[in-house]
Amino acid sequence: MSKTAPPQQDHTIRVAGEKGEVTLAVSGRLALENLNVVRTEIQGLLSQIAPARLAVDLAGVEYLDSAGALVLLEVEGAARARNIAFSFVNLTPEVQGILDLIDPAALSTPPLISEKTPALLEQVGEASLRIWRDLVQVMTFLGELLLALAYSLLHPRSVRWGEVFFYLKRAGVDGLPIVGLISLLLGLIIAFMSSLQLKQFGANIYVASLLAIAMVKELGPIMTAILVAGRSGSAFAAEIGTMVVNEEVDALVSMGFDPVRFLAVPKVLATVVAVPLLTLYADLFGILGGMIVGVVGLDLTVFTYISETQKSLDLFEIVSSLVKAGVFAVLIAGIGCQRGFQVRGGAQSVGAATTSAVVAAIFLIIVTDSAFAIVLHYIQ
């Protein structure tokens, strides 16, 4: 779309007078849309005639807006810079009014905050400090959260159970379809891909144990945790962040509530219950996916598949994977709430907190998972 109509000849500038003393009679419309035309025209005239004394006659001006007035003041400034005696003549009250409103000093006021970008070394230093401060904040918050959780366990009546059930539904029940679907497909794919290899050695039967171990030990907890981080961790960050922006968190503090206990504890408790249950559910659907491939593609019976699965798993593996899921849950909900509380400013900050909640949660999930892998290896 074209922005403004092509500049029409809606103004005229007439030159009158001798070489020494020149009058520019400006008439018509001086406005935002012909700012450039008028400016070039007047500057051209000035450089051609270079008078000793210049008067700008504004009697014929029909319409003047602040951009038009700006041009007139620019002409005045340019004339004075070249030692030309300058004056406006025939000012109508309207024109005078607009000229008076504009403060020429404001045009040359330097910005109070400079736009200068810092040197590379400075940027690196600042970024390192930022990461360090962030780490300290996360650790402090997790400490506060654990204290609040401990307090809640000792004083169960202080917990807002209504909220806990609300978030249990949000993070847990509402997540069932997507967790089930993804785990089922994951089970199907892994079983199918591995069966292509195992068939060659006549080791069809091992598809069941491969899938059971992979799902229960690693994929179930991790996939569930990543899905919950995306669905609920982000929601927690956005919710608390918006409350910070609306001063609702300040209101809580002023009323004597501990925002961590009031806002974060119900979310964490709900997630800690929901994630292990979802993990179990994901394991089942993954194994079901493998069973479909086993029965349809590998000529195994349902009974053989299930008994092979049972043989390859022991209770320790299942329980430790659920404990791992519980730890993931604390991390997801904790980091979500922490990022929310960190919000300062407005809408953009809420967006950044939401993104950061998901990214940080996934990062922590993977790091913690590695730690679990090593520790469990030595315990078992």
Binding site: T4, L32, L101, A106, L107, L112, S114, A347
Partner: protein
């Protein structure tokens, strides 16, 4: 000041606002003349802000129409709408500055969208407009770094970026201390006097009414429309309507 000019800039004709079955006001008619400061008054819930939102085309009326500069604010013609948008500026209650942009970027936005000016010219106009609202030097500040009164002034500068001939204000003094509020009133008066801008202001602050309003329109919730219109001093001294008398005496209406 071009107050005597009786050319209507805004025409409100038979305007009715309804949310579902809830009628806010019915058959409202008035005009705003060129260079005039018209204040829309009334208690909470009488539909002042709703009326303003109809006047700037944010809401579609249930009946009637609003013409600003001769254009129906609900027109579907893109060209007309563009012309209309260039001719009006709105200062929202909180300033409505974009939080992720500096003041300079906020002000430059309408200039970039509606004109072909070079970046240098836009910068110059931004500086001028910031100077106009006494915020010279604040171009690189973010809205979160300035006070409430400054946000309103910056919002006003953005509303005036294209030199509109009509400015709308929604509760300009809401949330401001009395001194800042008087300063804003003075700024409104000086812009009106200097540039001859027509202004429509929604407020319930009695103090500022007498210092800025050329004419007031008083809405009433019970009457679902206008109960009085005219010079505020005149209404305060001579009105016989108990609702108007009570409003000026700050007594509850019902």
């Amino acid at each position: 000041m071009i107050i005597s000019d009786k050319t209507p800039v805004i025409l409100v004709e038979g305007l009715t606002a309804r949310f579902g079955d809830d009628v806010i006001f019915e058959n409202v008619n008035f005009q705003v003349y060129r260079g005039e400061i018209l204040v829309i008054l009334g208690g909470s819930g009488c539909g002042k802000s709703t009326l303003l939102k109809h006047m700037i085309g944010l809401y579609r009326p249930a009946a009637g129409r609003v013409l600003v500069n001769g254009v129906d604010v609900n027109t579907d013609d893109d060209k007309e709408l563009r012309r209309l948008r260039m001719g009006i500026g709105v200062l929202f209650q909180s300033g409505a500055l974009f939080g992720s942009m500096t003041l300079a970027e906020n002000l430059a936005l309408p200039l970039q969208e509606y004109t072909d000016l070079s970046p240098a010219d836009i910068e110059l106009i931004v500086k001028m407009k910031l100077g106009l609202v006494q915020l010279a030097g604040y171009e690189n500040h973010l809205p979160s770094e300035i006070s409430g009164g400054m946000k309103k002034r910056a919002g006003l500068a953005r509303a005036m970026a294209l030199d509109p001939n009509v400015l709308f204000f929604d509760e300009p003094s809401a949330g401001l201390d009395p001194i800042t509020s008087v300063e804003l009133d003075n700024l409104i008066n000086s812009i009106n006097a200097g540039m001859g801008t027509t202004m429509v202001i929604v407020t319930h602050e009695l103090e500022s009414i007498f210092s800025i309003a050329h004419r007031v329109v008083i809405l009433d919730k019970g009457a679902r429309g206008i109960i009085a219109m005219g010079d505020p001093r005149d209404l305060q001294e001579h009105s016989q309507d108990p609702r108007v008398v009570n409003f000026f005496n700050r007594k509850p209406m019902h």
